[in-house]
């Protein structure tokens, strides 16, 4: 969607005027400093790859209150977190923080990709956002112990990680099951 070649009228009268404030509260405080100069977009990987809502355009969409439009699009999850925009932004807008803030808005509307849900689930269940169950084989092959010295090898550590996660916004959102029980068996690699 949002292909510039197929313009759709954006009804500014229906814009959500509180949207910039919502973004600011979720970590995108510097949003209003943006003058849309486009420097961030010049070498943004998302632009080069062809995602519709990269830094500059995301910020403008927020500024005009196009909240629904952003929620309908998955671009924000393609941001590489490379922070090249943060480094070169002449207005100290920190566009990457705004990208993250937008993700936080989307998550609260349950507009997040399956892979992100799986990552969160994995983070809660084993303490790693990326995890391969069969990794022990390749670890063995290269002469390493089956488990790295992380939460997968230390159940107490995993309990700590889970306890921390239950103190975050994730606990209220109900995106993933976050029970306190059953830690030990889940930790089996």
């Amino acid at each position: 969607m949002s292909n510039p070649a197929e313009p759709q009228v954006i009804n500014l009268s229906e814009a959500e005027t509180g949207f910039p404030q919502e973004i600011a509260e979720l970590g995108g405080e510097e949003l209003l400093k943006c003058i849309q100069c486009g420097k961030c977009a010049a070498a943004c990987p998302m632009v080069l790859a062809g995602f519709p809502f990269f830094n500059k355009r995301l910020i403008q969409a927020i500024l005009i209150g196009a909240r629904e439009m952003l929620l309908d699009d998955s671009s924000i999850w393609a941001c590489q977190s490379c922070n090249r925009c943060t480094e070169i932004c002449p207005r100290e807008v920190r566009p990457f923080e705004i990208m993250l803030a937008m993700r936080r808005v989307a998550v609260r509307e349950f507009a997040l990709p399956t892979l992100a849900i799986e990552g969160l689930k994995s983070l809660y269940d084993v303490g790693h956002g990326v995890y391969l169950k069969e990794a022990w084989q390749s670890r063995n092959r290269v002469g390493l112990p089956e488990k790295p010295p992380s939460t997968v090898a230390f159940p107490q550590a995993l309990q700590e990680v889970q306890a921390i996660m239950r103190k975050t916004a994730l606990a209220d959102l109900g995106i993933i099951p976050m029970s306190e029980a059953g830690v030990t068996e889940r930790c089996e690699v």
Partner: protein
């Protein structure tokens, strides 16, 4: 010298040969590694950072607390771990209110505390600064004379420079990785898309074809401008992208060559006479030719 090894997910589960390379090369250079038992995910961008700012910092802070308890800095070979841990530390140290909230959470959940006394360092930048390219050049058993390397520094070793313990002097013209390759006898020339993104990470999980556009542009720039024997990166994500994407691109007839790929720590371990099966054995690209050349030379 002793330092904590922050392994990270991709290194531990996807490319344990890279983990093995670190565990080989550091002691070989006289640096002891601590396991930081009980470490977790940094956490990576698509997980808690995308949900809750303080929660992100709290999980990172727990990892820091493990290192702080031992009075050690941490090293990592993964760009995402480096970025996530450096950025959370920077946030907590520049925003006392975030730090206070984080410590409140840590106290209630684990009795730990984030003080800010330990840093996250990138393994390659750590070696560059603490050992130095010259001494590393002297320590190796195998040299890379005549080998041309395309350096792939990886975004997270560069930006945002304010967050990092060892920032490049000029983050748009990074030198450290190239100098570290030169120290091993190789040449690592500049090419014009040196600092461009490889397309790994959130982009690859969102849209593989789009992600491969970026890695292809980079590969073509490398091939055309410096025709390298090997791509060497400082980031485990770049490693996976370059190592796996080329086969797909070739299948789709978008690429008619293959350049083998290694992480710098793998290359260093090879030069320090590690078992090539252990430190490069999981590579998808054909690194054997380069490995044989190194060990034979």
């Amino acid at each position: 010298m002793k330092v904590g090894f922050f392994v990270g997910c991709n290194t531990a589960f996807n490319r344990p040969d890279l983990e093995k390379a670190v565990r080989y090369a550091f002691p070989a250079l006289g640096i002891e590694l601590d396991n930081l038992d009980g470490q977790s995910c940094c956490p990576t961008w698509g997980t808690l950072p995308s949900i809750d700012l303080v929660g992100w910092c709290a999980l990172a802070a727990r990892n820091y607390a493990l290192a702080e308890e031992k009075g050690l800095d941490m090293v990592t070979v993964c760009g995402s771990c480096y970025g996530s841990l450096a950025e959370t530390r920077h946030k907590m140290l520049t925003h006392p209110e975030i730090k206070a909230q984080v410590n409140e959470i840590l106290k209630d959940t684990s009795g730990k505390e984030f003080k800010g006394t330990s840093k996250i360092r990138h393994a390659v930048y750590y070696l560059y600064k603490e050992v130095g390219p010259e001494k590393i050049g002297e320590a190796v058993k195998h040299r890379l004379d005549g080998l041309t390397i395309a350096a792939q520094p990886g975004c997270h070793s560069l930006w945002p420079s304010e967050a990092y313990a060892d920032p490049e002097e000029d983050t748009f013209h990074p030198r450290v990785l190239r100098e570290m390759c030169t120290a091993l006898g190789a040449s690592a020339p500049y090419y014009s898309r040196l600092i461009d993104c490889c397309g790994m990470g959130g982009m690859r999980s969102t849209d593989m074809d789009k992600s491969f556009k970026l890695v292809r542009t980079k590969l073509l720039s490398m091939k055309e401008e410096i025709n390298p024997d090997l791509i060497v990166t400082t980031c485990s994500s770049c490693l996976i992208q370059f190592d796996t994407a080329q086969e797909f691109l070739q299948k789709d007839r978008l690429l008619d060559f293959e350049i083998p790929v290694l992480h710098y720590m793998q290359l260093l371990a090879l030069c320090l006479d590690a078992d090539p099966q252990q430190v490069t054995g999981l590579a998808k690209t054909g690194v054997d030719r380069v490995v044989n050349r190194i060990l034979g030379g």
